[in-house]
């Protein structure tokens, strides 16, 4: 049974967590994630879940306790944003290397400094090489759907990795949205009970976790993490299909919007994809063949799918909501350009950094991007590879 409800993104994520009813949740407040922790603790207080909730004294401890709980054999979760994710940094790598299926929503927010509470993706991008799976969500519906799928993806025997579910701070987390929620029983059946293979609280088979690796094993262990990431691609697709059967909403690694016959396209994550789709619709009405590619999964990076989706396009703009300070644009730009290199189709790929620290992405900004892409397509000339949208310069 499905029900249409009006929820904010934070409420939608908390709702998913309630339906999953994890064994252990350890969390610490930070804007704009705070509500998830608050709402979830009220579920605990009212007996709507029987989760062990640990109100830790910091995010570092939130992830550390999640590691302890997950290693002990339970389904464990935490949630954070920005500085909180940065503070978890060290332990996220450890969670991934211990192959612990911890699921944690990240409500994307700019990193200090200067301190800023609004949306960008610098927090998530800072952890992109940590070995966690990163899902991105366009709106509250996707955040809810991703949370439920994340549990299955994380715990899949071929994967066993932490999964980070991203959504945009305030834009998605605090704005009311209409979405469809699935009934409790269907969610419960979909996620099932976690059956760990090796875990600390197994009296019959004690185990040492977090051992010291020398140069004789560390490299091999890292390679195994890569294999798990590779396997995750198929698993994410399978679970996306299976989820489609219970919800009517199927998910893959990327979402292609009007790309089949497109000449120009933007690639963009999270909520801005909605804005870009709207603009593409308007331009289509004017006869411009515009399309949008929205990666849903950023780690593992869906090289093949992206190559396939963009192979016929003449000019592509990658829109990054984070900087790398490489002086050559944002993080996704590097990944997308890399993915397209082997096509040798001479696709022009340019970068737009936008929305840092919560700066609005306006419709006219996306229109400007498509306009400039049209120019590139017509002239075959790129003047500037990296541009900044909506910035006073």
């Amino acid at each position: 049974m499905k029900t249409k409800v009006a929820l904010t993104g934070n409420e939608a994520v908390a709702q998913a967590m309630k339906q999953i009813n994890p064994d252990v949740v350890a969390a610490y407040p930070i804007t704009p994630q705070t509500e998830i922790v608050q709402i979830f603790s009220s579920f605990v207080a009212n007996g709507e879940v029987d989760t062990e909730f640990i109100a830790v004294e910091s995010e570092h401890s939130a992830m550390s306790a999640a590691v302890g709980a997950s290693a002990a054999g339970t389904r464990a979760m935490t949630a954070t944003s920005s500085q909180g994710l940065a503070y978890m940094f060290e332990v996220v790598y450890i969670a991934a290397s211990l192959r612990l299926p911890i699921v944690f929503p990240v409500v994307n927010r700019a990193l200090s400094g200067p301190i800023n509470i609004h949306c960008d993706h610098s927090d998530a991008m800072g952890l992109r090489d940590s070995g966690v799976i990163q899902l991105f969500s366009e709106n509250a519906q996707e955040a809810y759907d991703n949370m439920i799928q994340a549990v299955r993806i994380a715990e899949h025997p071929d994967v066993r990795l932490p999964v980070m579910v991203n959504m945009d701070g305030f834009i998605t987390s605090h704005a009311m949205d209409v979405l469809e929620v699935i009934d409790d029983e269907t969610v419960r059946n979909f996620v099932g009970t976690y059956v760990p293979e090796d875990y600390l609280l197994n009296a019959e088979n004690p185990i040492s976790m977090g051992n010291f690796d020398m140069y004789d094993f560390y490299f091999e262990h890292k390679r195994q993490q890569v294999e798990a990431m590779k396997a995750a691609k198929e698993v994410i697709k399978e679970i996306g299909k299976e989820f489609g059967r219970i919800s009517g909403r199927e998910y893959g690694l990327v979402e292609s919007y009007k790309l089949d016959d497109a000449d120009v396209a933007v690639v963009v994550l999270n909520s801005a994809a909605g804005t870009a789709k709207g603009v593409a619709d308007e331009l289509r009405a004017k006869g411009i063949k515009a399309g949008v590619l929205k990666p849903r999964v950023y780690r593992p990076f869906p090289h093949e799918e992206i190559r396939e989706a963009l192979k016929g396009i003449k000019a592509v703009a990658v829109m990054d909501r984070a900087e790398t300070f490489s002086t050559c644009g944002g993080p996704m730009f590097a990944d997308i350009r890399n993915a397209l290199y082997d096509l040798k189709n001479d696709i022009k790929v340019v970068n737009y950094v936008y929305g840092l620290g919560g700066r609005d992405l306006r419709l006219e900004h996306v229109e400007q991007v498509f306009e400039e892409l049209e120019n590139i397509r017509k002239t075959g000339r790129v003047d500037e590879t990296v541009k900044y949208l909506g910035l006073r310069e």
């Binding site: 350890a26 004294e57 550390s64 054999g73 600390l200 609280l201």
Partner: protein, 314 residues
């Protein structure tokens, strides 16, 4: 209390094959403490440091029980997660066996970088035992000072130089800080007395809620004494009142050992290379200051324990 003979029959959970230095206090401490859980199941958490690095070199392990190492500063939080998981699985009927949940951290991982995580765990009231293996410096990275390092000690980041004679600041009183969390059990012990260690470890594992044990666990490398003298050095630490033995049970302070006579701190300092420079002319004032600090803290401790605040007879 169990006899040594009986204890020798308890299942060993920390076994041979580890690579701690010969005569390291950590192996002795861990065995003594884990002896107290007798035949219960155990999960051990461990902070980064000598114990962890020496006991879990992949693909081997010296742990004959479940063991988890996460990072340097988060043994408190990690073990909180394990304990919460234990409660969750019990509640949901997914396990039926009983477990004791114990964490070990060095003084670096406990007094300094791990203090926040430990304090959080204590405040939240998890049913855990946290043991600080206190060798008074960061030994694993090569003998750097910690906030448990005593005044005057020569370490690689508080070196005894021409103008500064070793560590300048008195050590933090972590056991008192832990007791101030109003946990049911906090204690200070030392490995020269297996009875004292055993009694306290037993109380700690049996108490409901968080327990903390600070065990003086000498390091022959960092302290620079003869390896075989570990028991004697530890005994001197207690006889000189440099390391008093006490416990705080439900807020009630109790002194566990009162030296019969006044033994000057020099007797503890002299056999150790880390204090050698203090015995050179010009550094008498440091030893004097150490002694004064010991006497002052001793009187305060006696008062807390409801005893007459007096120094032992000379």
């Amino acid at each position: 209390m169990a006899t040594l003979k009986e204890l020798s029959k308890v299942q060993e959970r920390f076994v041979g094959g580890h690579r701690l230095c010969a005569g390291c206090g950590h192996g002795i401490s861990v065995r003594m403490i884990l002896n107290a859980v007798e035949d219960a199941n155990v999960v051990v958490g461990c902070a980064t440091g000598c114990l962890e690095v020496a006991s879990t070199i992949y693909p081997y392990t010296a742990w004959n029980c479940s063991f988890i190492h996460n990072a340097f500063e988060n043994a408190g939080a990690t073990i909180s997660g394990v304990e919460a998981a234990y409660r969750a699985l019990k509640k949901r009927g997914r396990i039926d066996r009983d477990f004791k949940i114990i964490a070990f951290g060095g003084d670096g991982g406990t007094y300094d970088i791990g203090l926040q995580s430990l304090s959080g765990a204590m405040e939240r009231g998890h049913n855990i035992v946290y043991v600080c293996l206190n060798n008074e410096a960061y030994m694993n990275t090569g003998i750097q000072r910690s906030s448990a390092t005593p005044v005057g000690a020569d370490t690689t980041t508080s070196p005894a130089g021409k103008v500064i004679p070793g560590k300048q600041q008195p050590r933090k009183d972590l056991t008192a800080i832990m007791a101030a969390h109003n946990i049911p059990y906090a204690a200070q012990t030392a490995i020269h007395s297996w009875q004292d260690v055993h009694k306290k470890a037993k109380k700690a594992v049996e108490v409901e809620g968080p327990a903390f044990i600070n065990v003086l666990s000498p390091c022959p490398r960092g302290w620079r004494y003869n390896t075989e003298d570990i028991v004697e050095i530890t005994r001197l630490a207690v006889e000189t009142r440099f390391w008093p033995l006490f416990e705080v049970e439900n807020g009630k302070w109790k002194l566990n050992y009162k030296p019969k006579k006044y033994v000057p701190v020099e007797e503890f300092l002299k056999p150790q290379g880390r204090f050698r420079h203090l015995f050179k002319p010009g550094n008498e004032h440091v030893i004097k200051a150490i002694q004064e600090e010991i006497d002052r803290r001793w009187l305060a401790l006696l008062e807390r324990c409801g005893e007459t605040p007096e120094l032992p007879p000379r």
